[in-house]
C-alpha cells in the first residue's frame, strides 16, 4: 500500500538505535526525528544531566550528519558562531574562517546562557538557512538542523528566549527523568560516549533530504485540515491566553506529516496531530493568566475539541 516503506523502515531502525543510547525515551526520540524530517528545529528544555547532549550526538551519528556543538556562554559573540574573516598576509586578502554553524546538525547547548545578541545570531541562521557576515551571504549546508537545549528559566544567570524566538522552534520537548528500569540499565551499562563513537550511521545527508521531500508529499485530507482548524480556533479563545499563530498551524501540519511518515503511512490522521501537538504547541500556548504548563494546556486543548 505504501511506497514510503523502505525509508520508513530505515527511520524505524534509527529510532531503535538512538533508543539504545537514550533508554526509555522512544517517544521523545521519535519527536526529535519527526522534527528533522519536517525541516524544523528542536528545543530541548530540561535540567542539566538529563541526556540532552547525548540525544543530539546520537541522532547526528545515526543520521550520518556532520555535527558541531556550540556551548553557549555569557560571553559568546555572534562571530564565535558564524565565523570571522582574518587577514591573510601571504595572499594579502581577508579569508573567511567559517564558524561552527557550518554543519548539518548543530547542538546549541544551554542556549539561554548567552546574551540575546548571540542568541539572535543563531536564530537568524535557523530561519534563513544562510549566514551573512561582512556583507557576504553564505548558504548553510543542507539538511540543516539545530537542536538547542535550554535549562529551565528559574535557574540563576540565564537569558530566557522571548516568545517570538521560541516560535522559531518547530517543537519543544522535555526529556524528563528515566523510569526505574531504564535508569537501572543506564547505570549498569557501558559508557554512552563510547557507544556513540562506535555507532554506525544508518542514513546520509542525501537520503535524509529525500526523506524530507517524501514527508512533504504525505497527503493531508480536507477532513484533517478541518480538525487542525478546529484546534487552532479553540486555542484562540476561551481559556487560553495566547492562541496558536498561523505559523504554529503550519508547524502542526508539517510535524503531523512527519509523524505519519514515521508510522509508515501516506496520509495524516487525527492521531498524528494529537501526537505532535504537545511538542509543537506547548511552547506557544499560554494559559489565561499567562502561565505555561505546556503539557497540561495541550492536553486540555486536545480534550476539548471533537474530531470533525
Amino acid at each position: 500500500m505504501d511506497t514510503n516503506t523502505p525509508l520508513a523502515v530505515m527511520l524505524e531502525s534509527t529510532v531503535r538505535q538512538v533508543g539504545q543510547i537514550i533508554l526509555g525515551k522512544e517517544r521523545e526520540i521519535r519527536l526529535a526525528l519527526a522534527c528533522v524530517l519536517a525541516r524544523g528545529h528542536l528545543l530541548i528544555e530540561d535540567l542539566p544531566g538529563m541526556g540532552k547532549t547525548t540525544l543530539a550526538h546520537a541522532l547526528a551519528q545515526t543520521l550520518g550528519l556532520q555535527f558541531h556543538r556550540i556551548q553557549f556562554t555569557a560571553d559568546l559573540l555572534p562571530a564565535d558562531i558564524l565565523g570571522v574573516s582574518v587577514f591573510d598576509r601571504e595572499r594579502s586578502q581577508f579569508v573567511f574562517h567559517p564558524g561552527p554553524i557550518f554543519a548539518h546538525l548543530i547542538l546549541a547547548d544551554e542556549v539561554n546562557r548567552a546574551t540575546p545578541k548571540a542568541q539572535s545570531a543563531l536564530l537568524e541562521a535557523m530561519e534563513e538557512h544562510q549566514v551573512t557576515t561582512e556583507g557576504e551571504t553564505r548558504a548553510l549546508p543542507a539538511p540543516f538542523f539545530v537542536i538547542a537545549t535550554q535549562n529551565p528559566t528559574q535557574q540563576v544567570g540565564t537569558f530566557p528566549l522571548p516568545e517570538s524566538q521560541l516560535d522559531r522552534f518547530l517543537m519543544r520537548i522535555a526529556l524528563g527523568y528515566p523510569d526505574a528500569q531504564a535508569e537501572r540499565m543506564l547505570l549498569a551499562g557501558e559508557d554512552r560516549r563510547e557507544m556513540i563513537a562506535h555507532m554506525q550511521p544508518l542514513l546520509d545527508p542525501a537520503s535524509l533530504l529525500a526523506a524530507q521531500h517524501k514527508v512533504s508529499e504525505v497527503f493531508v485530507a480536507e477532513a484533517l485540515l478541518d480538525y487542525v482548524q478546529a484546534l487552532i480556533a479553540r486555542s484562540r479563545g476561551g481559556k487560553f491566553g495566547a492562541g496558536l499563530s498561523p505559523r504554529a498551524g503550519l508547524a502542526l501540519v508539517h510535524a503531523s506529516r512527519a509523524w505519519a511518515f514515521l508510522a509508515g503511512r501516506s496520509q495524516v490522521l487525527p492521531e498524528d496531530v494529537q501526537a505532535v501537538l504537545p511538542a509543537v504547541a506547548g511552547h506557544r500556548l499560554r494559559g489565561p493568566s499567562g502561565e505555561a504548563d505546556a503539557d497540561a494546556l495541550a492536553q486540555a486543548l486536545l480534550a476539548s475539541v471533537a474530531i470533525p
Binding site: F219, A223, V268, E271, I307
Partner: protein, 654 residues
C-alpha cells in the same frame, strides 16, 4: 544506441497509445495500406517498449524509418503537400514521435499532435457517426492527458475516464456558445487544399455512350430539394443542369461562347418556390427546375442563353439555395431558324444510316412536330429496350444503336434522338441533369441521387420555342413516373439502396437522412447567412460581429462563472458527508454495546481501545476503521471503496 523506455509509466502509456491508435484508425480508409501497417507497427513497438518487452530504436533506425517512409509517401502521391500527402506525413510523424518519446514533454507534444489529427479526419467526411467517434477519441486523448499529469489516478482505468468526461461535459456549453456566437466570415475561414475535392462524383461536362449509366450506379446524394407548397408530379421533376449543343460523332459537349439570341421568356401561372441543398460537386452548375424565375435568382449566379443556371464559383461546400420556377413557360418562341444554326450542327461524316432515316422522317412528316412524334413512335414500337448495361458501341455509335443493338440507357436515346432531329433539320439539343428523386416523408423533401442522373432532349418548334422531349419516356414510361429502380429488370447493377423493398429499412434510412440533412444544414452549413438568420428569428435583428464578440465574451464569462460557482460552492459539500455518516453509524452501534467513542478520540486509537476491551470485535473493527481512514483521510478515495465501506458498516454487529 537502443535504450529501455522508462517513460511514460504504463497506465498513462495505455491511454496515450490507445488514443493515438483511435485517432489514426479512420485514416486507414484512405491512406495507402503499407503506411497504415507501418504506423500500426510503430505504435505496437512503442507499446511493447513501454511494457518493457522491447528496447526503443536508436537514432539511426529512426532516421532510416523516416527517410524510407517519406520517400514512400513521395512516390505514392508525387508530393509531400496537399491534403492526402499532408495527412500521410502527419500520420508518419506522429508514429515516429512515439518511438522517440522519452520525456514528459514529448508525451505532451504527442497528445496535442493527436488532438490535431482529430481535426484532419474532418477533411474527408463530416458526417454524424464520424463526429461521434471523434468525440470518443477526444475523450480518450484527454484521459491520456490526465493519466500523464496525474499518474496516481491512472492506476484505475475508470478514474481518468470519469475526469475526462467531466472536463468535456464542462466544455460542452463553451463549445456550443463558440459555435453559435463565433463570428462567421462570408467564405470559409481557410481553404482546403485543392486535392480535397478530387473524388467528387457527379455529372461531367460531356456525355458519351455509357457516361450516365456509369454514374447511375452510385447511390451518392447529388442534392436535396424541398418545396414550399405541394410538390409537382414526379414526372415533371426535370432538374436541369447542363445543355449540350456540340456533337463530334460520339460525344456531346457544351458549346463555348454565346450562341443564338438572348431568349425571350414568357411565363404563366405562379412560380413554385423550393430550396436546394446541393452536395459539393466542384462544378458551377445548379440543378434548377425549368424554368428559373429570372427575377429571383440565388445570389452569385446567372442564367446562360440556353437557360442553364450557373454559380459564379464551383460549389465546393454544401450549399443551400432558394429558387423559384415557372413550370408553364415558352422559351425563345420568337427566335428564327437562322439564329438557331448552332442547334443544327452535325459532323460532316458518319452515321449514314441515321441520316438517311432522318431524311425519310422529314419527307414523310408535314411539320417539325410530326417529325418529333414519328421519331418517338419509332423508339416506342420497334423493340428498343432500356438497360444499364448496353453493348459497347463502335465508331458510328448512333447507327449501331439505332439499327443493331437497340438497347441503351437514357444517354443513348437522347443522343440518337437529338441526332435524328438535327439531321432532319429540327433544332435540337441535349440536356443533362437529374430526373425524379425519392421523397423523404420524414423530412418532407426529395433526395436526388447520382442514380437519378438523366439525359433528355429539347427541340425548337416554330411558335412554341424550346420544348422538352424525353425519348427515354417513349421507351420506358415507368422510368419517368416511378423512378429508375422500377424501370430496370432485376439483375441490373443498381446500388443496393435503391433495390431494397424492405419497408422498415427504407423508413429508417429516410429518417436517418432527415437527421443528417439537419446536421448538414444547421451544423456543417452554419455560415454567416444562417447565423444572421438565426438571430433575426430570435428577434434580435441584424447582429454585427462586434455584438457577437461581446455576446461571446459575456456568454463565456457566465458559463465559466456558473461552472466555477457550481464546483466551488462550499454549501455543496455534504456535512457530515457520506463517509462520516457511515462511520458515525458504526460508532453508534458500538455505543449501544457500551463502547462509546470519545469526541476527541481518533479512529486508530478507537480501534485499539476496541481491541483491548472487546477483542472478539477487533478484526472487523480494524478492517472497517482502516477503510474509513483511507476514505476520509487518504488521497485515493473512490466510489467503490465507499460502497464496500457501506457494506462493512451494515454487516458490523457489536
Amino acid at each position: 544506441m537502443p535504450s529501455r523506455a522508462s517513460f511514460p509509466p504504463l497506465p498513462a502509456g495505455h491511454w496515450l497509445f490507445a488514443g493515438i491508435t483511435l485517432v489514426l484508425a479512420p485514416h486507414a480508409l484512405h491512406l495507402p495500406p503499407w503506411l497504415s501497417a507501418i504506423a500500426l507497427a510503430m505504435i505496437a513497438w512503442r507499446w511493447a517498449a513501454a511494457a518493457g518487452r522491447l528496447p526503443l530504436p536508436g537514432k539511426w533506425i529512426l532516421v532510416l524509418l523516416l527517410a524510407g517512409s517519406a520517400a514512400g509517401i513521395l512516390f505514392e502521391y508525387r508530393t509531400l503537400f496537399g491534403r492526402d500527402a499532408g495527412v500521410a506525413m502527419l500520420t508518419l510523424m506522429l508514429a515516429l514521435k512515439l518511438l522517440e518519446m522519452r520525456s514528459y514533454r514529448d508525451a505532451m507534444l504527442t497528445v496535442f499532435l493527436g488532438y490535431f489529427l482529430v481535426i484532419t479526419n474532418f477533411f474527408y467526411t463530416q458526417d454524424i457517426p464520424l463526429a461521434v467517434y471523434l468525440f470518443a477519441v477526444v475523450l480518450v486523448l484527454t484521459g491520456a492527458l490526465i493519466a500523464l499529469n496525474h499518474p496516481a489516478s491512472a492506476r484505475r482505468w475508470r478514474a481518468p475516464l470519469q475526469l475526462s468526461a467531466l472536463l468535456l461535459a464542462q466544455a460542452v456549453p463553451v463549445m456550443l456558445l463558440l459555435f453559435v456566437l463565433f463570428p462567421r466570415l462570408g467564405g470559409p475561414l481557410w481553404g482546403l487544399p485543392s486535392d480535397a475535392f478530387s473524388a467528387k462524383s457527379g455529372l461531367s461536362e460531356t456525355i458519351a455512350p455509357g457516361s450516365i449509366s456509369e454514374l447511375v450506379q452510385s447511390d451518392a446524394i447529388a442534392f436535396r430539394a424541398q418545396f414550399e407548397g405541394a410538390p409537382p408530379m414526379p414526372s415533371s421533376l426535370y432538374w436541369r443542369a447542363l445543355v449540350l449543343e456540340s456533337f463530334d460523332g460520339r460525344t456531346w459537349s457544351r458549346l463555348r461562347g454565346r450562341h443564338g439570341p438572348e431568349p425571350t421568356l414568357e411565363t404563366t401561372g405562379t412560380p413554385i418556390a423550393y430550396s436546394l441543398t446541393i452536395e459539393p460537386h466542384d462544378k458551377p452548375w445548379i440543378f434548377a427546375l425549368e424554368v428559373p424565375d429570372p427575377q429571383a435568382l440565388p445570389p452569385d449566379s446567372f442564367l446562360t442563353r440556353s437557360l442553364q443556371l450557373m454559380a459564379n464559383t464551383p460549389m465546393q461546400r454544401l450549399t443551400r439555395l432558394n429558387l423559384s420556377a415557372y413550370l408553364d413557360h415558352r422559351v425563345a418562341a420568337d427566335a428564327t431558324l437562322p439564329q438557331l444554326g448552332h442547334a443544327l450542327q452535325l459532323p460532316e461524316q458518319g452515321n449514314p444510316q441515321a441520316r438517311e432515316l432522318a431524311l425519310r422522317l422529314r419527307s414523310e412528316a408535314g411539320n417539325d412536330a410530326e417529325v418529333v412524334a414519328r421519331a418517338l413512335a419509332l423508339f416506342r414500337e420497334q423493340g428498343y429496350s432500356y438497360t444499364l448495361t448496353p453493348p459497347l458501341l463502335g465508331e458510328n455509335s448512333i447507327d449501331e444503336f439505332l439499327f443493331a443493338t437497340r438497347s441503351g440507357f437514357c444517354e443513348h436515346y437522347a443522343s440518337a434522338f437529338t441526332f435524328l432531329m438535327r439531321a432532319a433539320g429540327v433544332p435540337a439539343r441535349i440536356v443533362a441533369g437529374y430526373q425524379g428523386g425519392e421523397f423523404n416523408p420524414a423530412g418532407g423533401y426529395f433526395i436526388v441521387r447520382q442514380s437519378d442522373a438523366h439525359a433528355w432532349s429539347e427541340v425548337w418548334l416554330d411558335g412554341r420555342g424550346w420544348v422538352r422531349v424525353d425519348p427515354t419516356a417513349a421507351v420506358s414510361a415507368s422510368r419517368i413516373q416511378n423512378g429508375i429502380a422500377s424501370a430496370l429488370a432485376a439483375g441490373e447493377p443498381l446500388p443496393f439502396l435503391l433495390r431494397t423493398d424492405i419497408a422498415w429499412l427504407k423508413q429508417l434510412r429516410q429518417q436517418w437522412d432527415a437527421v443528417s440533412t439537419y446536421w448538414d444544414l444547421w451544423v456543417l452549413g452554419f455560415d454567416q447567412e444562417q447565423q444572421i438568420g438565426l438571430f433575426a428569428r430570435l428577434g434580435l435583428g441584424i447582429v454585427s460581429w462586434r455584438e457577437l464578440v461581446w455576446g461571446l465574451a459575456i456568454g463565456l464569462g457566465a458559463v465559466l462563472g456558473l461552472i466555477a460557482a457550481f464546483t466551488l460552492w462550499p454549501g455543496r459539500r455534504p456535512a457530515p458527508d457520506k463517509v462520516q455518516a457511515l462511520y458515525l453509524r458504526f460508532c453508534a452501534k458500538l455505543e449501544k454495546a457500551g463502547l462509546a467513542r470519545m469526541p476527541s478520540e481518533g479512529p486508530l486509537d478507537f480501534a485499539q481501545r476496541i481491541r483491548s476491551l472487546r477483542p472478539e470485535l477487533a478484526d472487523d473493527a480494524d478492517a472497517l476503521v482502516q477503510r474509513y481512514v483511507e476514505l476520509r483521510y487518504g488521497a485515493h478515495a473512490s466510489g467503490d471503496m465507499l460502497k464496500s465501506f457501506a457494506a462493512q458498516v451494515r454487516r458490523f454487529k457489536a
